[in-house]
Symmetry: D2
Subunit: 142 residues, 4 copies
């Protein structure tokens, strides 16, 4: 099981009232929204990635999540992000969500990004240098 | 136009990748999600309101928003919350969203809560004392 | 109170599991998502509006909703759309949401669109001819 | 690759304006919302499952999605749902999303449900008889 110590990049994030479903906990769908938001914020803030008008964009061919323990609004969440496989044009992220006061993960995600040309969204391109350098810095800590 | 100085309660909140629509700015719908989240967090954290199992719950008969200037993920947002009309069983909130570095509002919302019995969701009840006391503390500053 | 007979344009729409909040009914925020979706679908399907790459786009300076009666997933919803004020560069929509088996509205919305240049998103432009013609066809029926 | 012929249960579903992200296609997160909604609608409409107040509820320990081809609002989507492993207290669904006019899948999902006691949300219980019977009827067609 993942703990906060496995991650070099940690970020505290918000929850929203509507995230809770009729069972009073955060709906399974929302976890992916948090993954997507944390990963793109890392790319934008740390890697000079610009999804608004850059030629190269990152799209996802596959995502996955294991739900271990409930989270619920209004609690804050600590997200840990790491990379564990960096290829020529794709990267696999490992991402976990934690209660702020707990060290073991409530959810563990697996999220793939492939870098493609914005115009056709299918032609794979090399991961831009600056982005690759930053992705390497947050590789998974055993 | 509202400024941060009009609000006694201010809270910094998150945006999410999916909040941006195809125009690259936060979709109009999301503003209401932020209103809903900030207001309920105030009620839960400051007023001992428990939407999960309290007998009395707050539901909304009306909401409104004016969109003045675009916001966009990944920026953080400062939300200002105040009350400007507190009745027997209902309250009207005034809520504004600000860029963190800017003093004038990007969006101004109007959000009504009416307190009702959880069981039937229609019978109005008096605003609980503790909640009323806190609502009065954040009344709008001219 | 609005009834289905007030609308020339009616469309049956879906609800989603996550639309229901902890109170077991559709969260107030979602109503705006339904408004936004029905209006844009009308513009795209009936008016040759292309939000993906047209020069002129429609953005919203103001929206409002009155919540009269709960709706809940998994029920389908009938949305009625009409226009009641068409200016040079803006239009006000009236939109109501109905249970499929009921003639009176569960929610009544008010949604403003202003047509602007895509590039700056602030310079107002005339409503394109084809769009105006279609907006006029669904003006509110008393 | 999955085709519509692999599914005994097919349902046409809606998309929403806000489903499209800044790249003009449906955001990866939304696919899970569609999975969640189609699966629960099947359980509610076909299996007498009542997530609002039944003692036994279905929660998800794991979900996954492969994204093959873009979908975008305002198009409608055909969702195909099947089961491929039904245990004592859990079931694995296979779910695919299709363009209405195309026979091969744009996205393939894997979604696990485990049936638990509503009160504690952790004690596993046997899949209720009526639900099991219906889950068996939609087992995957090779």
């Amino acid at each position: 099981m993942k703990t906060k110590a496995n991650y070099k990049y940690l970020e505290r994030i918000d929850t929203r009232f509507g995230d809770n479903d009729i069972f009073g906990h955060i709906n399974n769908v929302i976890y992916y929204s948090l993954f997507d938001s944390v990963i793109n914020r890392f790319l934008i803030n740390k890697c000079q990635y610009n999804p608004f008008n850059s030629e190269v964009i990152a799209v996802s061919p596959e995502t996955r999540c294991k739900f271990i323990q409930s989270l619920k609004y209004p609690e804050k969440i600590d997200a840990g992000l790491s990379t564990f496989k960096i290829g020529n044009s794709s990267v696999i992220y490992d991402i976990s969500l934690f209660k702020t006061e707990q060290d073991t993960a409530c959810a563990e995600g697996y999220f793939v990004h492939v870098f493609v040309n914005r115009d056709n969204m299918s032609e794979k391109v090399k991961i831009p240098k600056k982005i690759r350098a930053e992705l390497e810095k947050i590789s998974f800590k055993l």
